[in-house]
Subunit: 203 residues, 2 copies
């Protein structure tokens, strides 16, 4: 089974624009992608990276300017529904967590993201297709049911935390040890502790 | 090994006060506690509930007005460091996830919460003690290392998501199926879908 890592390469991580310039967001995106590819590779799942714009990566990158749904569903079509999809902004991913994603023996495996997203999918069902808009985890559950696919959801924090917003950077500084975390530290980000959850600041 | 569930019963969930009255926050806290107790019970780990103020619960509640660190560390002292601690605001917890928490054969098992917290601990080391202030997951890692305890961290979204803030309620509405989710729906909360992560609104 192929594993595809889709990257939004054109204007990545716009919700981080209050704290990162456009060039920095690109560099940070590349660092996160590098962490994801490394985790997949270590688990024996070297992926195909597909980006909406050229992006630096240690593995070959296919540029596909269409939206996420089209590029994933085309690949599902071509592979009779046998495909894994792992998002590029999961820098806490480890090989062990990748193994847990592929372990369940069901037609479809979903890894929920924070905020209703779907951060990873393993499909082994010829009629399963994706729709990443809205509360996608709910839609993907319904689609699995609709095509009579057996379904598992993986309970993983490392697969749930996609890095989109300022608060997410704190998760990397607390738990990360890869390229994206190094990049953040080099860029001057550090943890700020006050009441409640930890935050981040840039020096 | 005993399992303790500490509850902040006096003025619970103040960060939800923009959307819930004091009475509602108490009811919601009791619903979350009920979900946590049910998950632990289903896994054969019926807990001791310890609250800083009287609170309604299906199992007996010990009232202990001291802070979290004191009440947990006293119990660790009394049990030669053999104790499990599971927070009361983890309504997505399931028996399967409880099993994963207790499975690792190490002196200490930690379940990180979002924002640097420590949402569950299994201690089997006589010198391990807790300190929930600041970035507690980092402190607990250091404490385990300091007493030469072997350490595992559980990679679980259901153990990571503690319900403190408005956005956290969305996680319950997307993923929950217990008493706390029912309570939220009855109180008029529903998902709101816009760009990015899903939010909640109250009708």
């Amino acid at each position: 089974m192929r594993t595809v890592v889709p990257v939004s390469g054109a204007e990545p991580k716009t919700r981080l624009s209050p704290v990162l310039t456009a060039d920095e967001r690109r560099e940070f995106t590349e660092a996160m992608l590098s962490d994801v590819v490394a985790a997949l590779d270590a688990a024996g799942r070297l992926p195909d990276v597909v980006s909406t714009a050229p992006i630096a990566c240690d593995v070959p990158v296919t540029v596909d300017e269409r939206g996420l749904d089209a590029l994933v569903n085309d690949r599902l079509d071509a592979a009779d529904g046998r495909l894994a999809v792992v998002m590029a902004d999961l820098p806490l991913l480890t090989a062990e967590t990748v193994d847990r994603l592929f372990a369940p023996d069901t037609d479809v495996v979903l890894a929920p993201g924070l905020g209703g997203g779907t951060n990873a999918i393993v499909s082994r069902h010829e009629r399963f297709r994706v729709d990443y808009h809205g509360v996608s985890i709910r839609d993907h559950r319904q689609r699995a049911q609709k095509v009579d696919a057996t379904l598992t959801e993986v309970d993983s924090r490392r697969l749930a935390i996609d890095i989109d917003e300022l608060d997410d950077l704190a998760e990397l500084l607390v738990h990360g040890d890869g390229a994206a975390t190094d990049w953040l530290r080099d860029a001057g980000f550090e943890l700020v502790v006050d009441e409640g959850r930890v935050g981040v600041a840039r020096d």
